[in-house]
Amino acid sequence: MIVGERKPLQEILENLKPYKKICVMGCGTCVTVCLTGGEKEAQETAAAVSLQRKRAGDEAQVTTKTILRQCEYEYIDEITAEVADCDVILSLACGVGVQTMVERMPDKMVLPGLNTTFFGYPVQQGVWLENCLGCGNCVLDKTMGICPIARCTKSMLNGPCGGSADGKCEISKEVDCGWQLIYERLLKLGRLDAMTAVEPPKDWSSSHHGGPRKMVREDVKLNDSRQS
C-alpha cells in the first residue's frame, strides 16, 4: 500500500488560512488502512482545524467527505457537485490522490494534508515498513523475495557494505541491514550461490530516473466518451 503521514497541524492551518469553506476529504483505500487519511482521520482533522480557527477568532466552515479512491475519476465524479460550494479541499489522500483530484477538478483548490512517505506494509499494529521503490525492473527473483533496492540504504546489488553490523544498517540500529536479511534467506534456501555472481550496473531508466513514467495498455483502452 501507499503509506502516508498527516502533515503537522500548524502547517495545515497555515495553508488553509485564506479559506473559509473547507472540505477535508478522506480517501478510503491505502491511507485508510494505514490509519492516516481515512474517514475517521478526516473527521479528526476537520474538528482540529475548526477548533483552532474558532480559537484564533477566524471561524471557518469545515465539512468532511470520504471517497473510496481519490486516484480514480469515477469516484471523484460522484462528489464534484457536493464540493462545488467549498473554497478548498484538504485532501488526506497520497500525492497521487491530490493530483488526480486537481486533474479532475481544475477549478478547485486542492491542498495536501498528508506527506506521502513510501510503498510498504504493516509489520505489526502501528508499524509500517518500506519495501518497494517502484524501480520498474523487479529483482526479487534474484534475491528470493527481499528487495535490495528498497531494503538496503545504498541500494547495493552485490551484497552488504562494510557498515553492516549485528544485522543492522550503519545508519541506525533501528534499521535492518537488507543484505543480512537476503543472506539469511538465501542461506536457508540453500541458494547462497546467488550472492557470488557479479551483478552488473542496474539500468535505472526503468525507474523515475528515466523520466515520469506512463503505462499504456492498448488491449484495455476504451475509445468511447469515458476516455477524457
Partner: protein, 305 residues
C-alpha cells in the same frame, strides 16, 4: 605506460606500507603538501580519501595531483555515494590525465553521517560494479554503457574489505567477488580484533585469494581512550575489543600505549601468511606515521631506479 610506486613495491614482493591523508575542509593545497612531505620516505603510496564520512573536503583527485607534482604516488579513493557512472568515469579519465595511477573503489559512508545530511545519495553503481566498470575501461577499452574509449588508459585498481562487518561468513566470498570484478589490491578496515582478522585470513587462504591479489592490513593508531571508546561505540564496521580499552585504561601514557598497540598489530599481521603490507590510517594524526613505520622495523622503504 609507467608503473606507479605502489605496484612496483607489491610486485617486488616487499612488505608494502601505505598511509592515509585526509584532505582539508578548505582549499589550502599546502595542508596536503605538508602532510605528504612529512610521510615521504615512510610510505610507498598515499591514500586520499573521498569526502570521508560524508564530510565535504577538497576533492581527492585535486589532492592527488598535488602529490603527483611532488613526485609521490597517490591512491585516489572513489566512493559511489556522490557521483553517478557518468561523473565517475569522467573523473577517472581526468585523474589518469593528471598522472594518477591508483584508484581505490569504495561504497562510501552514508550521507547522514556527514555535514550535508539532507543531500541526495547517488549510489548509481555499487562498489563491486565500480570495480568492474574501471576494469572494463582499462582492459576492454569500453565505458559502462558500451561505448569505446578513444585511447587506452592504465590504472591500478584497489578495493576495500571489512573482515569486521557482518555477515562474517559472507565477507570472504565478497572479497572473491570483488577480485573477480577487477580488484588488483586490497586494503582492509582497521584491525583491533586480531582473532577475527586471523579467522578471515584463514578463509582467504582457503580460497587462495591472497595469491590472486596483495592484501594490505589496515591499522589505526589510537591517540586516546576517548578515541578508542568513540570507535567502539560509534563507528560501524570497526570492532574494538574490551581488552584493548582496558589496556589503554591501565596505561599511564595513553598516546604511547596507542602507538605500541599499533606497532604490535603491524608486527602481528606481518607474520600472517597472505598479508602483503599494511595500510596506516592516522587521520588527524598523520605526523605519527613515520614513527610507527620506524618502530615496526619497516624502514627504509624500497626504492627503484
Amino acid at each position: 605506460m609507467t608503473v606507479g610506486n605502489l605496484k612496483k613495491v607489491l610486485d617486488s614482493g616487499a612488505f608494502a606500507v601505505t598511509g592515509e591523508l585526509g584532505p582539508p575542509k578548505s582549499a589550502e593545497g599546502d595542508f596536503i603538501r605538508h602532510h605528504a612531505e612529512h610521510l615521504r620516505g615512510s610510505v610507498d603510496a598515499y591514500n586520499l580519501t573521498d569526502n570521508q564520512t560524508a564530510i565535504v573536503r577538497t576533492s581527492s583527485i585535486a589532492c592527488g595531483k598535488i602529490l603527483v607534482d611532488m613526485g609521490l604516488d597517490p591512491i585516489i579513493q572513489i566512493t559511489c555515494r556522490d557521483r553517478n557512472r557518468i561523473a565517475i568515469q569522467s573523473d577517472v579519465l581526468g585523474a589518469v590525465a593528471l598522472g594518477i595511477k591508483n584508484i581505490l573503489c569504495l561504497q562510501g559512508d552514508h550521507q547522514s553521517f556527514g555535514n550535508e545530511p539532507g543531500s541526495k545519495g547517488v549510489y548509481d553503481l555499487d562498489s563491486t560494479q565500480l570495480l568492474k566498470v574501471l576494469k572494463d575501461m582499462r582492459d576492454e577499452g569500453i565505458f559502462a554503457g558500451g561505448e569505446k574509449l578513444e585511447a587506452p588508459i592504465d590504472i591500478f585498481i584497489g578495493a576495500v574489505a571489512n573482515p569486521f562487518a557482518d555477515p562474517f561468513e559472507y565477507r570472504i566470498a565478497r572479497l572473491a567477488k570483488k577480485i573477480e570484478a577487477g580488484a588488483q589490491f586490497i586494503q582492509t578496515q582497521a584491525i583491533f580484533d586480531m582473532e577475527r582478522f586471523e579467522r578471515w585470513m584463514e578463509g582467504i587462504r582457503k580460497l587462495g585469494l591472497h595469491k590472486k591479489v596483495p592484501i594490505l592490513a589496515g591499522v589505526i593508531p589510537i591517540k586516546s581512550l576517548g578515541a578508542a571508546r568513540y570507535m567502539k561505540n560509534n563507528v560501524s564496521g570497526i570492532i574494538v575489543p574490551d581488552e584493548l580499552i582496558d589496556r589503554l585504561k591501565g596505561a599511564k601514557d595513553k598516546k604511547e600505549e596507542g602507538l605500541k598497540i599499533c606497532v604490535e598489530t603491524i608486527q602481528q599481521v606481518q607474520k600472517i601468511e597472505g598479508v602483503a603490507g599494511v595500510h596506516i590510517m592516522a587521520i588527524a594524526w598523520e605526523e605519527i606515521v613515520p614513527e610507527i613505520v620506524e618502530r615496526a622495523g619497516l624502514l627504509p622503504r624500497p626504492t627503484f631506479s
